[in-house]
């Protein structure tokens, strides 16, 4: 029989929802001050976003990350119970030029002169969390945690105890970027195979020359056989390419 929709809760198992579209969210400054009040010792910074999307984020220090996350989830006004996206980002060592106006004395007259300073920022790895609220239907609140460096100290606290959706995504960040998440229930590689070494999404990853080759016992037989047969470029590779590819 054709299925039709239910009005009100009756014998079937389906219902239709009313649309509530309340958009109430505090600004990032308010959230920042409330976090600092609720989690003592937390160091929060607001990272501005240059694009027209106006999605600024909060930089959270690693020791208080779990406490901050828990506060964000249980606080009645925010109720950020849905962690939508966990991203890893790799920042290499950068040199950032800053131009500031400095008062200097030029030929006896005090003037404001542009002075460019170069600041060296050491590289780090970052985990960015996009949080929404299913209860209040607002968001996003974006939080970031940074590692100290890109080598030994690439460790962060896992937020999986707070939001279960971070489980697979943090595993993926571990696999592709190499950030070790403390407190993750099952941290192992997820997209690459378990014996793989190195972390492919890092900016300084170099593809190995032989990544499509797997050693087999037959290889040395094939190497010896090659000497006895004429080369067949039309079967084994494209002949007639006039020049090597210049990129």
């Amino acid at each position: 029989m054709p299925l039709r929709n239910l009005e009100g809760k009756a014998a079937g198992s389906l219902d239709f929802a009313r649309d509530d579209g309340a958009w109430m969210m505090e600004s990032l400054d308010q959230i920042k001050s409330r976090i600092e009040a609720a989690v003592p010792g937390a160091k929060i910074e607001i990272v501005a976003n240059g694009s027209p999307s106006q999605q600024d984020s909060l930089l959270i220090d690693n020791e208080h990350a779990v406490a901050t996350a828990r506060f964000l989830r249980v606080d009645p006004a925010l109720r950020l119970d849905f962690c939508s996206n966990v991203t890893g980002v790799d920042w290499l060592d950068r040199v950032v030029k800053k131009t500031i106006k400095v008062k200097t004395v030029v030929e006896g007259v005090e003037k404001e002169v542009d002075q460019t300073t170069e600041e060296e920022i050491p590289g780090y790895l970052e985990a960015v969390y996009h949080l929404y609220s299913m209860t209040h239907k607002h968001g996003p609140v974006i939080i970031r945690t940074r590692t100290a460096d890109r080598a030994e100290c690439a460790r962060l606290s896992s937020l999986t105890p707070v939001w279960r959706s971070a489980e697979f995504q943090e595993r993926e960040i571990y696999d592709l970027y190499g950030i070790h998440f403390d407190g993750h229930p099952d941290l192992r590689r997820i997209l690459m195979w378990d014996e793989f070494e190195d972390h492919p999404m890092r900016k300084d990853y170099v593809q190995p020359d032989d990544f499509e080759w797997e050693p087999t016992p037959h290889d040395d037989v094939l190497a010896r056989a090659k000497h006895h047969y004429p080369p067949r470029p039309q079967m084994d590779g494209a002949e007639g390419i006039v020049e090597p590819l210049k990129r």
Binding site: L3, R4, N5, S13, D15, R18, G21, S53, E167, F168
Partner: protein
């Protein structure tokens, strides 16, 4: 419209927590990666006690094509054809999500006709995706392809529409930043309207074929129950979340595109089991037909792309943006970080199928091996999206 749902009362199922009276070890079986019912190359390491699943660990990565790193080496426009191949059933939705994120990043506006076309194509995609899913699930249950072919008959009509508009059935590459690539002629709109008008007849026939079927009901009711708290915590989105009773649809919450102009309802489930997840898709198809009829009535001629956007040498300002849509499988989001250059600095896809698989173990514990296939089918995964 009022519904009468056939349920089998007091269907006696054997108790699932049976303690084995025989001493023995758990049998570890690897289901997949070559398996007709795992929706792609997907592997599950299952530990069985008799027929009951005691542990289930999913293994991914067989279709990992490093789409995110390709995105870092390709221009913004060049990544658009690659997004077609993420969730290869729903290429129009993937294109829209990516275009939306770039438009958020660069602050680009979209003309009206382009927004209407985007809604029409996304809802057509939703129709064919949900129809295919119901067909595939029935095939997994052993229905030998008949419901699948019924669903594919409708899907072919929609794919023919895509082919005559975008040039390709599945890899459409149709959206551009600031609008759409080609305009839809009046004749195309008339043909699409005709197909949509006849869709409810197909839905009635399809529901008569499968949703009243006792075998389907017996195999899917009370199987794979997902509670609302677990669903929210695990980041489940899409019809799977709404089957557990949580009212969260990105079309209503974010109101992207022109969705606020259309009247449509969100179906919710009460039990969170597999049968509810099936019903979600069936009801969402009806709602999509309603949205399409309204869109066909409201669309007007006009420009389809924002003329201020450059096609070559497109450099958005430095910054980041996260844009998301309600794809047929869940919330599909793109997170882009730009450093002012022609290629993105970080290009991340938030894949709904991947995250919906977080709870697969919780759903399958205590059920039999046969139920695992049914539960996996109702999660609606496509490996192109899970592995990227």
């Amino acid at each position: 419209m009022d519904a009468t749902v056939q349920t089998i009362e007091a269907m006696e199922r054997p108790p699932v927590t049976m303690a084995s009276r025989l001493e023995g070890e758990l049998l570890e079986v690897s289901m997949g990666p070559q398996h007709p019912s795992t929706h792609g190359v997907f592997r599950m390491n299952v530990a069985l006690e008799g027929e009951i699943v005691r542990k289930l660990k999913p293994v991914f990565g067989y279709l990992h094509r490093n789409h995110e790193q390709i995105g870092e080496h390709t221009s913004y426009l060049g990544s658009m054809p690659y997004t077609d191949r993420l969730d290869y059933f729903c290429s129009m939705s993937n294109n829209w999500a990516y275009a939306l994120s770039v438009e958020k990043l660069a602050g680009i506006e979209v003309p009206e006709r382009a927004e209407y076309l985007r809604v029409i194509l996304a809802e057509l995609t939703r129709l064919q995706n949900h129809a295919s899913l119901l067909g595939f699930l029935l095939s997994d249950m052993g229905a030998w392809g008949t419901p699948l072919m019924y669903a594919f008959r409708e899907r072919e009509k929609i794919l023919d529409l895509f082919e005559s508009l975008a040039g390709s059935r599945m890899m459409c590459d149709y959206m551009r930043f600031g609008g759409c690539r080609l305009d839809a002629s009046e004749e195309w709109l008339a043909r699409a309207k005709q197909i949509v008008d006849r869709f409810p007849e197909f839905l009635d026939e399809f529901e008569e074929l499968i949703l009243g079927n006792e075998i389907v009901i017996g195999r899917t009711q009370n199987v794979g129950k997902l509670s609302a708290e677990l669903a929210i915590s695990a980041g489940i989105t899409g019809p799977m979340l709404r089957a557990s009773g949580v009212n969260y649809d990105v079309r209503k919450v974010d109101g992207y595109g022109f969705y606020p102009r259309f009247k449509f309802r969100i179906p919710l489930g009460n039990h969170g089991d597999t049968y509810d997840r099936l019903m979600m898709r069936a009801l969402e198809m009806r709602e999509s037909v309603g949205i399409l009829k309204q869109a066909f009535a409201q669309i007007q001629p006009g420009p389809i792309v924002n003329p201020k956007v450059k096609v070559r040498a497109f450099r958005p300002p430095a910054g980041e943006a996260y844009g998301r849509i309600e794809a047929p499988k869940g919330e599909l989001g793109f997170y882009l970080i730009s450093d002012g250059g022609p290629n993105p600095y970080r290009y991340r896809v938030r894949p709904p199928s991947f995250i919906n698989l977080t709870v697969l173990e919780d759903l399958c514990l205590g059920h039999t091996v046969a139920d695992v296939m049914v539960i996996l089918g109702s999660v609606d995964i496509v490996m192109g999206e899970v592995d990227r």
